[in-house]
């Protein structure tokens, strides 16, 4: 069993084999408040797993996957942190019960083969009681381990469907990004050509302003000439009248 859990083979769990896992999150503790059915082998029915997952999410043992598009970064970080805690917690809880299970199994085998390791020719009442005690402990602990494994698979399946849903959202976001990028490109074109036109029109406006100034100067000149001509006319008229 060294593959998954590190076992302390010398530990004695005589007094604490039945102690629930003390830390949280705890799958077994969460299951104790949930109603479900078991099959003839004592395993949780597959049809009950989704309901159990939902119940555990409500209890806060399994963090709910954020699905809304306006989830803040801090909420996402909180979810990810709690998710990692759940994954590590599942392993820790499994190993906790697994150590007790291995102890119980060893005690059971030991009680079966006897102190000499040669088995019994006949089993006394006391020995039978001991065997039953360790058998009961093994069955209980085995059930807990199976429950944790089943829930683990259920969470994994739930995650897989969440990934599919998120994948759709990511595709939508990608499409939006492409659209916005195209819009940016067209805006850039408008800006570039627009700026050229603006420069042209501004130059044209400057030229027309200059033309206006020249016209003003010409108007002033002609006004002066007209006044001079009028004055001359008046002078000629006065001269001819005085004669």
């Amino acid at each position: 069993m060294s593959g998954f859990c590190k076992l302390n083979t010398t530990a004695d769990h005589t007094n604490d084999w039945n102690t629930p896992y003390p830390s949280s999150p705890s799958i077994v503790t969460g299951l104790s408040g949930t109603s479900f059915t078991r099959d003839m082998n004592g395993l949780i029915q597959d049809s009950d797993i989704p309901g159990i997952i939902t119940k555990l999410q409500t209890q806060g043992i399994i963090p709910a996957v954020p699905t809304q598009s306006n989830t803040s970064s801090s909420d996402l970080e909180t979810f990810l942190k709690k998710d990692m805690e759940l994954v590590d917690g599942i392993k820790a809880e499994y190993c906790y019960y697994n150590e007790r299970y291995v102890w119980a199994i060893n005690q059971l085998f030991g009680s079966l083969i006897g102190p000499s390791g040669q088995g019994y020719t006949s089993v006394s009442t006391a020995s039978q009681a001991t065997i039953q005690k360790y058998l009961g402990a093994s069955v209980q602990l085995n059930q807990k381990l199976n429950d944790i494994t089943k829930v683990c698979k259920g969470i994994s399946a739930s995650r897989a469907s969440s990934i599919q849903g998120l994948g759709t959202r990511v595709n939508q976001l990608n499409a939006q990004l492409d659209k916005t990028s195209a819009s940016l490109t067209s805006q850039q074109k408008i800006l570039t050509s627009g700026k050229d036109n603006t420069i042209l029109y501004k130059e044209m406006e400057r030229y027309s302003q200059q033309k206006n100034r020249y016209s003003n100067n010409m108007l002033m000149l002609y006004s002066f000439l007209n006044i001079t001509a009028l004055g001359l006319l008046f002078y000629v008229y006065r001269s001819s009248s005085s004669e």
């Binding site: 069993m1 998954f4 085995n142 994948g167 805006q187 627009g194 027309s208 010409m218």
Partner: protein
Amino acid sequence: MGNNLSGTTDAINLFQQIATSQSLTSQNLQDLQTYVQQAQQNLFNDVTGKKDAAIQNAYGELKANTNALHGINYYAKRNEQLNSIQNDIVETAQKQATAVQSDSNLAKRQNEINEWEAQNKQDTLFVYSQLLIILSTTVILAYLMSIGILSSYVFYCVVLALVLVFIFTIVNRAQYTRSIRDRRFWNKRRFPTDTTPLNTNICLNATSESGITVTTNTDMSGNSF
């Protein structure tokens, strides 16, 4: 999962029976002990090995799916942020484009106004130059009249003609600028527009009386013909 509770109990019962029968039949107790311990170890390894494989599989899957979920969550969040940034940039670019467009339109319109004003001044200049010519001619004719070369009758006729031409020029230009000239472009002319829609029923009535079949079509502007 391979951890059948009843199967485990059966295996334990069988083991117990084997151990018991072996102890009855075997003469070498040392061999029996070795055999029993070996059987115990094998059974233990079998039971715990299957459990280990099951949890490794389930937990491995859970870790893989969890990592994938976390990755895709980050990906989605990044895309959302990128989208938001891009939208901001598009908004800014749109504002800039609108400003550039507005500047361009303003400059264009100001240019049109300046051109109209310049042309108006040119027209005024024409009137001023005409006045100058008339005044200069009048001065010369007045001098000639004063020295006796030109008679006063001729002088007044010429001056009257010139004044009439001048008045006519002013009235004509003012009236043209007020009613006919385009308000936006100096060199353009305004034409009266008739917005009354054509009455096509007259044509339909006429053709139906003559017995000819007419089909009515409508163009993009909604006019029927």
